[in-house]
Amino acid sequence: MNIALDRSKLAKFQSTIALLILCIGLTILSDKFLTVDNGWNVLRQISVNICISVGMTLVVLTAGIDLSVGSILAFSGAVAAGLLKSGISFPGNDLFIGFTLLGTVLAGIATGSFLGFFNGWVITKFKVPPFVATLAMLTVARGFTMLWTKGYPISSLGTNFAYIGTGWFLGIPILVWIAVVVVIAAMIISNKTALGRYIYAIGGNENAAKLSGINIDKVKIIVYTLAGALAAIGGIMVTSRLDSAQPNAGMSYELDAIAAVVIGGTSLSGGRGTIIGTVLGAIIIGVLNNGLVLLDVSPFWQQVVKGMVILLAVMIDKANSKAE
């Protein structure tokens, strides 16, 4: 128990140092980096990735993976936008169901949760490896998005809906509030509840967890459902921020989320890692994206740099766990 605690502390420490070095470097290289405005920029930009990455962390802690979050994000956002804009009408009889703002948001989250639940159900009941099950969902949910939007963006969703993505509350952007609430909730779940302990136990040693009487299928289904729900929340955030549901929204967001999880020190083989580590990982990616643009680095080099950072993070992480 003590060792596990030390390890997670070390992981936290390591991403904090990396972030500090990055920030100091960027502050020296650009006088535009360390400003209040730019700080809010970075935080607003990473809030979506934080929501998705938190869900991804829970999944990875059980030694799973969720490749479908980007597509689920797109579909949930499109469902919310479509319902808000045109409701549901049944051409046969004159029935029409309109949706309030809260109604559309809940419908979007329900959509994502259901797709996540489906992932979990397939993974546990049919023993499909998470990689394959969620890879299939990546395609299926993208296809649903195209069917729902017919390939065209759904735009002009009204000022109330746009307020989620552009508004401020108590001096802080609403997007950042959402991310903060998600992170605190996930920290409570992972540190203070039985569910959190089960998640770590399953990732640490699934057989041992099973023998100690944990309902593994139930825990996994909950985790994938949460990942789907969080992707949907991300979808509503993106849609509201752009005032438009784009059919190609969320493309390759799963990779950014996995990168945040990995940079944050969570082990892809499960059982080890923290929510706060992932948050740091997401901030590092956000700061890196921002900094590379501030410094006018060529788009070709940006991809190389981002890839190298991920690789470096994992190499350091491996070296650390070996040293122990």
Binding site: T35, R44, G151, P153, S155, L242, S244, Q246, P247, V293
Partner: protein
């Protein structure tokens, strides 16, 4: 058994002869499009399908997902399942030549839409929309609107995409003649509205004083505009897009975006389908390349246009 087969074959050959004379069974047209992940191409493919149906043909849309290898599969499938013509929006000018040649060798005419392939004889005809010269025009307007001096930002599309560079090069061939115009940042936003907004937010931190933004498509122009609104700079910065998408047309009407380049996917797709129809009816002589002019849309002439076309 052998006799039966022989009889069947004879019967089949007779009936098929009869069919081709009377053309009872509708001919089939394959529409192979580079991607359906962008509304512009969805519109192109759907218009082609609609026109083919109007002309009395069956049609099916194939999505190459910007992948020349997948495109090759689609061609093989279309050839072996007996399609009679292919309306083709290539993924890559060089990489798609082999696919068009394959169809030609199988006796199936190929009509290219919007994008070109680097071959003079693989396609029966190419109906092209010239991104390069459209961006030359757009660049000239950019110079005028900015008064020949100022700082500007360019948002590129996907950097591995031909169109990204055709548009960028056309734009620069006009703008680079004016030393007073200085490009302070050139970044990629992958043709994506969200990415454009995020990249623009960061650029505005580094370069708060800019006068114009040139974007490789309308989705990025919309994203860049939103970032400018959030930074209270929308009034003084002129945003240029490309495509003629619905959101952009509405924004130009409302004075938000300054200009876009209207391509005419409807004309391109309908011409391609009509050419296929002419081909089936016996015409064999088509213009090798038919350029469809791209028009610059601003607030002054916006009343003539709707999304992806003229009123």
């Amino acid at each position: 058994m052998k006799k039966l087969i022989l009889a069947l074959v004879l019967f089949a050959s007779l009936t098929s002869c009869k069919k081709s004379e009377k053309a009872e069974e509708p001919k089939k047209i394959a529409i192979v499009v580079s991607t359906l992940n962008n509304p512009w191409f969805v519109f192109l493919a759907e218009t082609a399908a609609k026109k083919a149906k109007e002309l009395g043909y069956e049609s099916k849309i194939f999505d190459s997902q910007n992948n020349t290898a997948l495109e090759s599969d689609h061609f093989e499938n279309a050839i072996s399942s007996g399609y009679d013509a292919i309306l083709f929006n290539p993924t890559d000018a060089a990489g798609s030549v082999a696919n068009a040649t394959k169809a030609k060798e199988a006796g199936i005419p190929v009509f290219c839409m919007d994008r070109e392939i680097n071959s003079t004889d693989a396609a029966t005809s190419q109906i092209l929309s010239d991104s390069y010269s459209a961006c030359v025009q757009l660049g000239k307007l950019f110079v005028d609107k900015l008064g020949k001096k100022g700082n500007y930002v360019e948002l590129l599309g996907i950097v591995s995409d031909n169109n990204t560079w055709n548009r960028s090069k056309g734009f620069h061939s006009s703008v680079d003649n004016y030393p007073g115009l200085k490009m302070v940042a050139q970044q990629s936003a992958d043709f994506d509205r969200n990415k454009a907004m995020e990249v623009m937010e960061s650029i505005l931190q580094a370069h708060p004083d800019i006068d114009g933004v040139f974007c490789g498509n309308d989705a990025m122009a919309m994203g860049a505009y939103q970032a400018l609104v959030a930074a209270n700079k929308a009034d003084k910065v002129k945003v240029f897009g490309f495509d003629g998408a619905e959101d952009a047309i509405n924004s130009i009407k409302e004075g938000k975006l300054t200009a876009t380049a209207m391509q005419f996917p409807k004309i391109i797709a309908e011409t391609a389908a009509t050419y296929a129809d002419d081909y089936f009816k016996g015409q064999k002589d088509f213009p090798k390349k038919l350029p469809i002019a791209v028009e610059v849309v601003t607030k002054e002439n916006i009343d003539k246009y709707i999304a992806y076309g003229k009123k």
